[in-house]
Amino acid sequence: MRRERPDDRGRFGAYGGAFAPETLMPALIDLERAFVDAWEDPGFRGDLAGLLADYVGRPTPVYHAQRLSAQLGLDLWLKREDLAHTGAHKINNTIAQGLLTKRMGKRRVIAETGAGQHGVATATACALLDLECVVYMGVKDIERQALNVYRMELLGAEVIPVTSGAGTLKEAVSAALRGWVSSVESTHYIIGSVVGPHPYPWMVREFQKVIGEELQEQLHETPDVIVAPVGGGSNAMGIFFPYVGDSDVLLVGVEAGGFGIETGRHGASLGEGSPGVLHGAMTYMLQDDFGQVLEAHSISAGLDYPGVGPEHAYFKDEGLVRYVSVTDEEALSAFHRLAVTEGIIPALESAHGLAWIIREAADLAEATVVLNLSGRGDKDVQQVAALDG
């Protein structure tokens, strides 16, 4: 069963909760209170709806990808989050949390970023709302998403390189949480996905579910299948949530298969992980026998994460969503395919969703399939060019 909100311990079934240093606990409780209050306030909703319409450009279109549909023998629709301001769904969450930051009377924001999309979206919201902005980013991601680093700086944000571990999203989230422990009295942490301690997974889902709600209005039939990439899980949660529990729709979350599941170098936390506590929540994660967090691997910085939002863990156990994976290579080939057939360069994250559709096309024959095109690929062009030689 889908739940409108987590239980009073912040749990979705066995998953979620808040495992955080005591220093942060009061801020998490204040945040929940502020969020509930804002979300029930038509004034807040109105301000947010206004910015989403006029600034972000919502509703984003649903586009019928006719050439690719014909090639694949199915009916493919793209939910165009790539056309949202700054080029990904991340902005839905950052504008809302930015407004909430102001409402809580805080002037400073920190955020983590992997692909840089959440960092850019946070820097954008902060510029718009006149908030100070600091973004933590792993050194490996700074290298592979260089364009987004400069975009954040242009927007007035400070980017702090995180050198620990593999220098990817996991370390960036850890560094942001540590930074928050030290600045919690003045600063709000805008987390970038449906991860982290309660109330973040619930709150970010509420801010992202606009994607699925729009789709319900825009598509005049109930689709057979909805596909979305899953890193932390926010774009997938956003498009799935209004459909969860509808037995006519197959919901498919596509995780990073990296070099191949059998190599052990992947980001398939739901497919291959086990329950544990990562970044403040009980969820599926990649870990060793001693409970040490393992490094993930993906070609896509936004999917290169050894955990996943706790509500996805709940959906997996309840059988409400099917979670699968595709490899780096499959994603790369889907990236090129969409570019040449539809004139759309997708984010490598989104290309994972398309890759699964391409692989399963025979089984999906004649079906109406919606892909959440979570972001545009400009940020990835340099990396892909280097890979293609």
Binding site: R9, A18, F19, P21, E22, S174, V181, D289, F290, G291
Partner: protein, 276 residues
Amino acid sequence: MAETTGRDRLAGMFAAAHAEGRAVLLPYLTAGIPTFDDSVRLFRAMADAGADGFEVGIPYADPLMDGPVIMRAGELALEAGVTVDRALELVKQVVAATSKPTLVMTYVNPVLRRGIDTFFRQVRDADASGVIIADLPADEAGPFLAAAESSGLGLALFVAPTTDDGRLATVLEKKPAFVYAIAEVGVTGERDEASSNTEHLARRIRSRSDLPIVFGVGISTAHHARSAARHGDGVIVGTAIVRRVLEAASVDEAAAALASFVEELAAALRSPLPPD
């Protein structure tokens, strides 16, 4: 006569220091730093220099409460193969070598991975006296307190400068072995100034409970320790110890540095500032 439990040993440690009119000194060191075999020697040096007990850190890959120095120590220990099992082996050796009440410090996931009850049983079998879990707030502590109870170990719970009165009552209600009072808003790491939070925090806790109060986070010098000890029953010194070990050119040098630093800390606690 019933066997002495870990929790009893902690209580005995606080009572003995109390009888001398002073606070206890609990140095922290990550297990297996600088090497597994040399770590025991460092704990012995600290015991000889006047430590009352120890906190031994199980190295963890994502320590959300730790600053760069303890993070670095954890990374080094993990690279050297210090697993949870190896860390507990070390705890056993430390207790055998020093006879000091010893706390195991960890994060929640290694405990869950093993199973809460199994973990606490293994900690007890390593002759430790208690457990500190940095990312375990009182709200989620139920099963951990139950496991501590059945294994006779003391579990510490945290209070921070940001903790409001409602949460403070929740923590104290659970009757932890002691209150770990976080002296600074921030992660572990050295600070220039003595904490300005200790007096107020202690007053808020004392007015509601007589549980022992141990201050930790940011206590970096003998002066800081003395200042915190004025209001609490104990102090934990972590980064200032770990940094000395990481900076030493040899184990001999590390042992000498810890001996003189711990001696200085212990002396400071034996000549506390008069209460104002």
